[in-house]
């Protein structure tokens, strides 16, 4: 099992935004996390990326209970990477951005250059290697952020709305890259999305979040772009 969570809650200023009795995520699969705005998708991704700690409950990664001490967090974070919904690139070149994760791991310059080239080729951004990162368009920024994440060859890739705010062409490229790295590198992928169609076409498993809790996702709902609460309201 990749992740296993029990009684996981996250509260902000007295408001519980995530409340999961039990969550189990298997390795090497693509999971789609769907739900409306405010459902708790980003909060869950931050917890799974170990960038935030739960208010209550336990989280296990590959059978190891997360203790949230500094040393363990660093070790865990170096196996997982989160690509933000609105990724931000450091004020430097595309090359240096993609090489950041490798540099902080102390990887040699030669190997770093090889992995940067590979990652840029994978996302089709090799012609931008010397470009100033802040001159890129939204879609290009997302692709470079993806290359930066893939360069470190993570065990788990977490993507928050990977295709939000990008054009159709870039959306397709990004989805193809995700499928390819899952197939070729067996990288586990968990992506948050609004689009049920996207989850059906890409994911092996779909998790639906609503009001911070997991809902049972039926085939009926999977084929129909309504969320459980909307469905109940429609039935009423």
């Amino acid at each position: 099992m990749l992740y296993e969570a029990t009684g996981l809650t996250r509260t902000f200023k007295g408001r519980t935004v995530l409340n999961l009795e039990h969550l189990a995520i298997e390795s090497h699969a693509i999971y789609a996390l769907i739900g409306p705005n405010g459902a708790g998708k980003t909060t869950l991704l931050n917890l799974l990326a170990f960038l935030d700690r739960p208010t209550t409950g336990t989280l296990q990664f590959r059978g190891l209970v997360v203790r949230y001490n500094r040393q363990q967090l660093l070790e865990l974070r170096r196996r997982i990477v989160l690509v933000d919904q609105y990724p931000i690139l450091f004020t430097s070149s595309v090359w240096k951005n993609v090489g950041f994760g490798l540099k902080v791991r102390g990887i040699s310059k030669k190997l770093r250059a090889h992995r940067i080239e590979q990652a840029l080729e994978l996302v089709g951004m090799e012609q931008f290697r010397q470009a100033d990162a802040h001159t890129l368009s939204g879609g290009e920024t997302k692709r470079v952020a993806l290359a930066r994440a893939l360069a470190i060859e993570p065990e788990v890739l977490l993507c928050d709305e990977p295709t939000a705010n990008v054009d159709q062409e870039n959306q397709e490229i990004i989805l193809q890259i995700l499928q390819r790295i899952n197939r070729e590198h067996r990288t586990s992928i968990i992506l948050a999305t609004h689009y049920l169609a996207q989850s059906r076409g890409l994911a092996d498993h779909t998790l639906m979040l609503e009001y911070g809790t997991l809902s049972d996702l039926t085939d009926e709902i999977a084929g129909n772009p309504v969320f459980p609460s909307q469905k109940i309201a429609m039935e009423e």
């Binding site: 990326a49 960038l51 974070r77 990477v81 933000d84 004020t91 930066r148």
Partner: protein
Amino acid sequence: MSLLLDSLKSALSLLISLDPELLNIVGVSLSVSCSSTLIASLAGIPGGFFIAHSNFYGKRLVLTCLNTLLALPTVVIGLLVYSFISRRGILGPLELLYTQKAIIIGQVILIIPLVTSLTIAAISRIDNRYRKTALTLGATQLQMALVIVKEARYGIGAAIIAAFGRVIAEVGISMMLGGNAKGFTRTMTTAMALEYDKGEFVLAVALGLTLMTIAFGVNMLFHFFQGKTKIDVI
């Protein structure tokens, strides 16, 4: 008007001939100001980063105190440091009074709040996603801090320039703690005040011009590194 023009003409000739007294005064000023700016930066930048990035009990009080200290008059600092380093003070045996070290101590106290406050402002403006991105890419806390400092480098650079500008132009601390001893603690500002008292304007004007040139040069250098000398015209 003729007094000013005559003084200006004589001052320029002093500058062009590289007058030894003038050079000595400029040297003392630069040495003292650079030292105090360096020490204050070494303390104020990490301090500012810590305050900006931490949530601790009493943070608001610390910020209020820092903002209050920004308005601290140089004579108050001079008086305070004097009480410690004068012969009857607890640091009297160190014989710091009327030395360049005494001026540096006073100037550091003057600009630490400035460097810290401006660093806090610069760090606070940096998007939190930089921190999150650095951490998810496997950065340690120190590597993450360096990313933030790098992103805030222009703001921090501006803090250092402002601090340098403050100390190179101050007169109260230099006069009270340095004593304006010729060749030792005479800075550009204390020399200008003395020359004014004597009714001699030539050296004062020459020093004034030098002071302005240094300030302009430092700012030009900053803008050069900032890479903003080219302004896009729409």
